[in-house]
Symmetry: C3
């Protein structure tokens, strides 16, 4: 590219030196053309118009309710790039991770994956490392693109931090690669390229946790962004996973029982989800639903057992460009009925939540979101068989993209 | 290199292509022109001519006294830049942070702030995120610029690691922006631009700690670098903050009492400080003093209570250029009388310390400091009502700037 | 700024502006020409053809045996460069570090060293900071270059993570600098430049651990890559260290005794090693052996005492280029008899292991290794006086270089 444009500019052949070439690699691209750095950060305040400080949600945002203040919910640096014609890397630390409950802001991995493409056009790819599990549109969509401040409980309870260590295969025809790219570049809030078809195995204890039971989870997903009438894009998807999840002893309160077989091999952990997305041009719609089985605290036996779960969400949004700014009002309703395997004693949950909000792209790199949230959450665990909390609050977020 | 070869190649006007432009952002600057990386590191040895190995200071340097050896006191990578015409980012991990008392060198955030300027000339700015609290000149001055190896106890006991999560507003007229920049670029050891006027709110539990009491601290600062006689620059400043600080249960020894109201809402935490700096051209002088109130262990009631505190320091220095090298001998005296809210049981302190040292800029990126320190420190807590330690030591530091 | 000066300069000879020069440093090189970023990552699976899931080795790979799954063994980002004509920096976080037994993938330092050269040609260098201790060829060789998946127990038990905080002096004549460089650049798997002669002091508690006993270890090494017959390079080496190592209270089980003198000052920790490497052109050979003394659990006294240790390894390999790919089959045998000071109670070990494997450079940045390992390991500590485990397994690794 560099060479071409120079050549056009003048009839004399200019031997353009590779600018700033690193000395030890005279023939390959400079490091900063192979690896780039970008990122984003989200600073929040959730306490306005709060009617119930006991309405909390650890999976969502640890600064919700009593004790919460200004909070760095996410901070990400993304080192990524095509380091060779066949290898693409993506290494994303989060700099808002806790090393313990009262020491914040350590750097911990979110993604460290390595895409090896089998062909030059990257239609067939293997992905190795810690990455998002292809289960659910909202799970795969970057938090920097999501409208509502948190993911829905129903599908996000499948995989903490949406990620795990595994090996995946993705198939994406070239035309659809372009379309996936367009959906993020044009501000339509797509997932990026997780394949039209994806299949993989992963440890199953979720991100940044060691494997326990020596058996892998298996996941598969099919998703296709249909072009309808020359402009509208509709993306239906279906996905499922199965495996055995171990609730480790440090996550079980004394007195809570677990059958011998579950202790060693883990609990059945299986889900099936359907997704549909109508991208906002200008009106958009998005819905997902999943059913499955997994570990959940049983009030009657005072034990963790395999139980059914189900739930999902629906969201409508409208994208409005105002000069260089963009406004996207949205409304989202969600429901979940089932266990949360990642939390102590795998408590049972009944979640109903409605959110009405607006995302405002103030400037290309500064985004403000206001989200009025009306929630009703019941948690059932050994400490409290029926801890129901409901209330409303206004949540604010400033997001910085760089 | 680049210059030579192009110049030789052709006399025709060459349209220089944007070198190495990242493909997905054809119109904006390449990532490495928006974000840059620099940093510094400090390696120390504090045990020479040591007369009392029990004279320690956790707030200062954990390798002081018994058991100390070579120590990586600070290691910083700074990712910063004007990522758009209105957004400046500054993300600074420290790579010498402990995750627990015996595991060192984790990456933890110091700064992650985002400056949104209201005008093109950056006179009016909002700063969002974790950043230094505008309280005290020495607190704001980078450790890479400070002469003495540690900050003074009196003002630094206000905010551990000098930082917290908050929202700040800074006002800096353009001419003073230039002056602040000159004061750091010319090796005069200024603070950088924290505004002529700054005001903000922040959580109040200090850097990398979760908020506890749902109320914010408020801080304000006024500081002006006066140009005197065409060359000398004198910077007087005044600053104050107020809020409620919670001594969390994990920081209180069993048997030590805390009144109910303090437990929940926190202790009064209020300070007022005055600063004056005469920048070293060649002779310099610097002094700060603060008074206030905050949590402190009370010997008589065996409880943590709100008590008065006061203290400050004065420093004289002389800047001498010797060829490309710079030598800055200095002398610093300090005193503090009050509690340290960040330490277990908020112990009371009486601190007297004198330091005589010299900073030697050996080469543009290598700096050596020798600091002979004469200290007298008394700590009063539940374990020891009058733990007085005094002694002398020679401290050495090698600093690497990159 | 850059644009202006070019425009004014002349329509003819084009003054090539420093491309992308950072504005605040007009005269020095852009930051990305002073600092570069590269790295590598290793993803493993160790459970194929496993005959004994109780055959484990914490020092080697925590995912060996029962409970192990896919594992990110190492993930490294390397920020390095000649930041001035006399200062070279090397800062290497690992992003696969645990903050506790069940929270993985934190960023923790491996290297943070600063080379100050006394002469322009870098023949005489001081290295300050955390770096590899010059003890053992395989310890100094990057894991990205090693054929076998883990280092040998015998020499690697000397220094956990191969590193410590210290000050070192290295001497490398210019011709040998070139040769060391060639040995890594040409894929011959050298160590890089740790000097023909190196000497240094370091804390002695090993990487990322605080110093305890106020005394430093001393190390020295002599190593020379001899050019034999115009092509073959043979590198013999000799190295030794001495110091006092403290087994800290948190590393001692209750009931296990330690004599008073050892508790305070530490145990004798002394080793001497010989190395020889014949670089693979195409046939290669490599062997090291060390003897020494160090802390080891004594079954009879139920106490940790100073005991003798010895052991080493030998490896043969053959380097075969097949088009742009490289295949290196290898066989390695190792033996160790002695204590492991870094583990709880400094258990005694008897290790016999044979590995037969092949490294396959599939593409310039993707490397696969298969390693069939036949092991026999006995651990003697307070919990089990004779925990002998033997068995075989096939281990796989994918390494990504960027």
């Amino acid at each position: 590219q560099t060479t071409d444009s120079t050549a056009k500019a003048t009839p004399v052949v200019v031997q353009q030196p590779a600018p700033n070439a690193v000395q030890e690699t005279p023939k390959k691209k400079a490091w900063y053309d192979r690896i780039s750095l970008r990122g984003y950060a989200q600073v929040r305040y959730n306490r306005l118009l709060e009617t119930n400080p006991n309405l909390k949600c650890d999976q969502c945002d640890k600064s919700l309710g009593d004790g919460g203040g200004l909070f760095l919910r996410r901070g990400r640096l993304i080192f990524s790039g095509d380091v060779s014609d066949r290898l693409y890397i993506y290494i994303q630390p989060d700099f808002a991770s806790s090393a313990s409950s009262n020491t914040l802001h350590f750097f911990q991995l979110r993604d460290a994956y390595f895409d090896v493409s089998l062909d030059k056009n990257k239609v067939y790819r293997f992905r190795v490392g810690q990455s998002k599990i292809p289960y659910g549109f909202e799970n795969l969509q970057s938090s920097s693109n999501r409208l509502a401040l948190d993911r829905n409980d129903a599908l996000n309870s499948a995989i903490a931090n949406e990620r795990d260590l595994g090996i995946f295969f993705y198939w994406t025809p070239e035309a659809i690669q372009e379309r996936f790219k367009l959906l993020t570049d044009a501000g339509l809030k797509g997932t990026g390229n997780y394949g039209v078809f994806g299949i993989g195995i992963y440890n199953g204890q979720t991100a940044n946790k060691p494997e326990v039971n020596s058996t892998q989870h298996v996941v598969a997903r099919l998703s296709y962004p249909l072009l309808v009438g020359g402009k509208q894009i509709i993306e239906p998807g279906i996905q499922a996973y199965t495996g055995k999840y171990v609730v480790t002893p440090d996550q079980v309160s004394s007195g809570v029982g677990i059958e011998e077989k579950y202790l060693k091999d883990g609990f059945d952990d299986q889900r099936l989800a359907a997704s549909v997305v109508v991208y906002p041009q200008p009106f958009g719609f998005q819905a997902e639903y999943n059913v499955g089985r997994g570990p959940e605290f049983n009030l009657e036996s005072n034990a963790i057992e395999v139980q059914n779960l189900h739930g999902g969400y629906a969201q409508a949004m409208y994208r409005k460009e105002v000069g260089s700014q963009v406004l996207i009002p949205f409304v989202k309703v969600q429901h979940y009925e089932g266990g949360k395997k990642h939390e102590r004693d795998a408590p049972g949950y009944s979640v109903y939540e409605t959110e009405i909000g607006v995302e405002w792209l103030v400037h290309k790199s500064v985004e403000l979101t206001a989200d009025y949230s009306i929630g009703d959450r019941t948690i059932r665990n050994a400490q409290n068989f029926d801890n129901r909390q409901y209330g409303n609050r206004l949540r604010l977020q400033a997001q910085f993209n760089f």
